[in-house]
Amino acid sequence: MKGIYGIPKKRFGGGIFDTPGNALFSLILLALLVHWGMGVWDWTITRGTWQAETAEQCARNGGFCWAFLRDRWRLILFGPYPFQEQWRPALALVVCLALLSASVSTWIWGKALGPRLLLFCWILGVPLMALLMIGGMLGIPRVPIRLWGGLPLTVMLASVGVSLAFLLAIALALGRVSKMPVLRWMATGYIEFFRGVPLIALLFLAAILFPYFVPPGWSMDTLLRAQLAFALFFAAYMAEAMRGGLQSISPGQYDAAQALGLSWWQTQRRIILPQALRKVIPSLVNIFIAAFKDTSLVVVISMLDLLGAANASTAEAKWWGLYIEPYLFIALIYLIFCSAMSAYSRGLERRLGIGER
């Protein structure tokens, strides 16, 4: 690939010191970088405060308030979940992350028994996580849903929401490309509606209007309603991504399936969907990243996810006034999760040979 200015990308010094102008520019950048790096070092380490009881003591040094994070990191990570029981969400989180990363590992999918083993692990893992989070059995005390919070809540909202959305999205995408006009219109209407409105409006709908739309006496925890709103919302985006995959399948595949005498269902299940979905995995991962970040919107309906818990962590008078510390801390967590996923998605894209030209 060539740089667009007509200069080959790789020459002497990898494009850092190749021409005098470039070298000067690089030097300026390097100087800035060093200056900035020293500033960060000074702020976090030299002037950072490790031992302090209040925000004011931290403010005296003017640096990063490590003491705050030492005191509050568990509140930020687990929200209002009872302090003694916090090993449970931590363990559930580990199980969940292990299962998720196993599920996207191409190595496992390549093994003969891999997919079955994976399914088995999920069947075992989901009730285990539920047991850990909810409790009320096997001598583990029950923890009501309204006390869930922090990172486990964020991961749950995103992964359950996206899993539900995935199933709905397959139906929607098939409807969107269907030859039957009524199905196509319905799917199009759904997709356009949900892609046209902001997620916040849907969360308000779920939080405020839900009781109007169900028979009197029905009730559902706000958390589950938000979960539902997430699933419905992201299904539209996933369906649109899958439509791209479905439309990229050559008509020859359909003809071949028909020639073999496969029914429509069989064709979709065995021929079309596996190919189409494989093509759109990178976009699906990107939607998952978006969902992971957008779970933070539940803050506006007063729920304590990672961002909500970070806000709550400074509510106590002694830590009042800090904002950079909690926000940087959770920014780092979001960054780790999202970067890992996007690196995965890019790697996959490269392997599948799409994307970059």
């Binding site: 405020i208 109007y212 028979p215 009197p216 007063s302 509510a315 006034g321």
Partner: protein
């Protein structure tokens, strides 16, 4: 399974789903029955407004509003602990009540004619009388209301204080810039950082909040009260019977104080009192409670759970609390205050 049977199953499902909808919408269950069937009383309260509703050191929810929720649960379900608290912001309260999400909203809302007549809400109490005042940064140099022209004022979104201020300022040809925030914690934080010059609230809350600011002496609470305030829990008025219960639970608390019935002496009074008024109030004679659709001795359950009005006030606002507010307007009518109960007969 063939596709045909799938189709049949789907149509059957459709029929089943549609059928009961008719039946369900035709009948209206009385609110009291709904609550009893559910077994819990759903109550909307603030997440963290000390005095009204906040968590104490042991993680229990305490406050004046919280006690009204407990009193309702005690009256209707016979057990004050059967309350399901739903924490919400001021702006979320009325929508949540109207949608049926909660049975009562105890967010210390001000009693206004519009809320009563247009929003079809019934007010309980007022359970707390007060007045709105302003707190300013001393460095602004403002000492009177008239000095506040052009100030930026923080208010909580969805309340009525901004419209009260708007009226007050307009009548005096003054202007202000409102900044509506989601909750009181945010409001005081923005005020302290200097995003607003002025913050407004009911007098007792202002005093308490000032004591929690970093430099309390840098802030001045103006003496002038610019609007009266009278707050209480609200319920929907679509079920008269239920609305009556909510109103009379409050009066029971006040009446108990008038009669000198407390958490401490109630058992003794139940056993020994010969006073027909007290016996009627405690449900030992007559059938006031039964006629309301409650256990006849519902007042006993209330007083055992939370004490009388005076006890509640002292616990959360008075001498036993950090706020240390004098009874003032919230004393009984006979003692110079405004709290009174209709005759229990």
């Amino acid at each position: 399974m063939s596709i045909r049977s799938l189709a049949i199953a789907a149509s059957a499902f459709l029929g089943l789903m549609v059928g009961p909808t008719f039946a369900q919408n035709a009948s209206i269950a009385p609110q009291l029955d709904t609550i009893r069937e559910r077994g819990t009383f759903r109550c909307g309260v603030y997440e963290n407004v000390p005095g009204l509703s906040a968590l104490d050191a042991q993680g229990r929810r305490v406050g004046l509003d919280v006690d009204y929720c407990h009193a309702m649960a005690a009256a209707i379900l016979g057990d004050p602990t059967k309350v399901e608290f739903r924490t919400m912001s001021l702006a979320q309260g009325i929508p949540a009540l109207r949608s049926g999400e909660v049975d009562m909203v105890a967010l210390a809302l001000t009693y206004t004619i519009q809320r009563d007549t247009e929003l079809n809400l019934d007010f309980v109490g007022p359970t707390l009388y007060s007045g709105h005042a302003f707190m300013v940064h001393r460095r602004t140099g403002a000492t009177r209301l008239a000095d506040l022209n052009g100030a930026t004022i923080c208010v909580v979104a969805g309340g009525i204080t901004d419209s009260l201020i708007a009226d007050y300022f307009r009548a005096r040809n003054m202007t202000f810039r409102p900044l509506a925030v989601e909750n009181t914690t945010q409001m005081y934080a923005l005020y302290e950082e200097g995003r607003c010059d002025v913050v407004t609230s009911e007098v007792p809350f202002l005093g308490m909040r000032r004591s929690r600011l970093r430099q309390p002496d840098q802030h001045l609470i103006l003496d002038e009260i610019f609007a009266k305030s009278h707050m209480g829990p609200i319920v929907r008025d679509d079920d008269r019977r239920y609305a009556h219960v909510a109103r009379w639970v409050h009066y029971a608390l006040v009446n108990a104080e008038e009669m000198g019935i407390t958490r401490a002496n109630i058992d003794q009074l139940v056993r020994e009192s010969r006073d027909p008024a007290i016996r009627r109030f405690l449900g030992l004679e007559g059938d006031i409670g039964r006629n309301m659709g409650l256990p006849n001795d519902f007042t006993q359950a209330i007083i055992r759970a939370v004490g009388n009005y005076g006890e509640i006030f002292e616990r959360h606002y008075g001498q036993q609390s950090v706020i240390k507010l004098p009874r003032g307007l919230n004393a009984l009518a006979g003692q110079g205050g405004l709290q009174w109960s209709p005759t229990w007969r």
